[in-house]
Amino acid sequence: MPEQSDGVIAGTGMGGGMDLAASEAETLEKVPGGPLGTGPAGKPRSLWSDAWHDLRRNPVFLVSSLVILFLVVISLWPSLITSGSPLQCELAKSQQGSQPGAPFGYDGQGCNVYTRTVYGARTSVTVGVCATLGVTILGSVLGGLAGYYGGVWDSVLSRITDVFFAIPVVLGGLVLLSVVTSNTVWPVIGFMVLLGWPQISRIARGSVITSKQNDYVQAARALGASDSRILLRHIAPNAVAPVIVVATIALGTYISLEATLSYLGVGLKPPSVSWGIDISAASPYIRNAPHALLWPSGALAITVLAFIMLGDAVRDALDPKLR
């Protein structure tokens, strides 16, 4: 099929854009046999550097990554912006409003809401980052291998992911985490990895199957390349983009899941500090001390939103259709 680029189909929204894509690429042609035509100067641009170039100009990316950077910094060094301890509570100050030293006021137990909100970020970021790392590594290895090799293992894995998808997350959390006695973030993270990997594995599998069909994989195979070379050199770099996008968005949802589980009393439990615990503790006093509920909920919402927006921005930048 020669000249696909001119065969524009109405209604598909491609319009004349395809014509342009073809001619854009032709800027660099030189006259064969003759001396070089002048190509645009500048260094070679990989697809990654192109994506980065786009991202730097995207306000959504800038805002969300600033928010995330701030969260990471305060979860590493909370004492940078607060001097108190989240566990130092005076019942006498219960439900008091905003005042010097406690801009967000005090909650029902008389704890400083500001300090607790700041310290809560650490839990959320730890859970979000660790759960996402675990899910991504497990999911992309299993999904990628299943997609690449296909066959029986692929069928088995697909059925297993179906089973996992059928488990309601919150119910599963209530059942599984209620038997755990350890009061650290690790059981929560473990639970999220257990239930989260099928999502990534499905994305990774599909994306590997798509890249596997490209002729450059065939070309590498015709050269005699080993499976590991094909997977690492040719398939992984081309299949990783959708995984990154989904993982970024998932990070936000893991943070909110941790809050949900803690709210329900099966995630972290006091004396741990978590936005979910604070939201749960503040909800009985919503009429008298709405601020105690507002601040941790607001922090949670902004954090989740920031990650989802970051994922969106990354997807736009990596979308191959725009290249």
Partner: protein
């Protein structure tokens, strides 16, 4: 009919069947796609064999089997006498060096995440014995020069090039290991008309320079004729007619070849009135359900009862066997007869 030079590739009884399965975990075979169903030919050293046919005739599957990208269901592919379908491991890897492929679509055949230098240099990483490490960059630049690209482009990425340039990069990668056989699957069909001629000339020049043997698969009959010494016509998984280019184009004896040739639009408006065109009815049958006997009979205007019963062999038809004329070439038809379908004024030029 065999090639005139010493054979470098001999294909015989090549078959590729794909099972059609149903079911998720426990698969049940419900049919067979007979993509390639018994193909024989030889490719001579330094020769160009063109394979033409319409979509679904199995020509791309054939190309993949020659490059060991698909394992044949049956049959043999002999490279310099050695059956490469039985090889594995080191021996297979060594043979791969000698048979390389040029792909149709220059947009999907280059890894967008790798620089041009990495793409053309990858063959040396896979076969380290082909070039010492310190020499590789120089060789890559040399290859870029050979295919008519600026050697300074090594650090660029494929998306910075046009379709024609990408195809040159693909050709350079194919040449890196100094193969003896190049299998080109529709090497120019994705390119613009004015760029096609450039790439064809390049392939022609490289053949002389590197003493290559080509197997070129294409649907454009005029391009195949231009570059091929011999031409094979495929229909539904089999070669139905094969011979020297003039034998096939000027003296076709198989009705499918005749229909195919007559359907090609001729870039000569004066020819349109007095040109006889054979318009075939219907579509190509599904490769899961190949007609009995002659596979072309369902669309053939000459089909008789015998065609449904007997599979015609690919051999010189008996009526031409005694003559030495150009019609005496392999044709798988019970009722083979000569018919001129290419415009008459060009006939004088064909070597009779």
């Amino acid at each position: 009919m065999t090639s005139t030079t010493e054979p470098i590739l001999e294909v015989s009884g090549l078959v590729k069947h794909y099972p059609l399965t149903r079911g998720i975990l426990f698969k049940k075979q419900v049919g067979t796609v007979k993509a390639v169903d018994g193909v024989d030919f030889t490719l001579g050293r330094g020769e160009t064999l063109g394979i033409v046919g319409e979509s679904g005739c199995g020509k791309s599957t054939l190309a993949k089997m020659l490059c060991n990208l698909e394992k044949p269901t049956a049959g043999s592919i002999r490279f310099k006498g050695e059956d490469i379908t039985r090889l594995s491991g080191k021996a297979l890897k060594a043979v791969r060096r000698n048979i390389q492929m040029v792909f149709q679509d220059p947009y999907t055949s280059l890894n967008p995440r790798m620089t041009v230098g990495d793409i053309i240099g990858e063959p040396y990483e896979i076969h380290p014995e082909a070039a010492p490490k310190g020499d590789r960059r120089r060789r890559v630049q040399e290859l870029l020069d050979v295919v008519g690209l600026n050697p300074e482009y090594v650090n660029r990425y494929p998306h910075q090039f046009s379709g024609g340039q990408r195809q040159r990069i693909g050709i350079a990668r194919g040449l890196a290991l100094r193969p003896e056989v190049i299998v080109a699957d529709e090497p120019v069909s994705a390119l613009d008309v004015s760029v096609q001629a450039q790439v064809i000339n390049l392939l022609d020049r490289l053949q002389a320079e590197f003493e290559l043997s080509y197997l070129v698969i294409a649907h454009d009959l005029s391009i195949v004729r231009h570059i091929s010494d011999r031409v094979g016509v495929m229909y539904l998984g089999r070669i139905v007619e094969i011979g020297r280019d003039a034998e096939i184009y000027d003296h076709p004896t198989h009705p499918y070849t005749q229909a195919l040739l007559s359907a090609v639009p001729v870039p000569d408006p004066d020819a349109r009135e007095h040109r006889e065109r054979i318009i075939l009815t219907g579509d190509v049958p599904s490769p899961t359900n190949i007609p009995s006997g002659c596979r072309f009979r369902t669309r053939c205007w000459k089909a008789q009862e015998r065609c449904a019963r007997e599979v015609p062999a690919l051999a010189v038809p008996s009526r031409f066997r005694s003559t030495a004329g150009p019609a005496a070439h392999d044709s798988a038809c019970h009722f083979a007869e000569e018919k001129q379908v290419v415009p008459a004024e060009e006939h004088g030029n064909g070597p009779g």
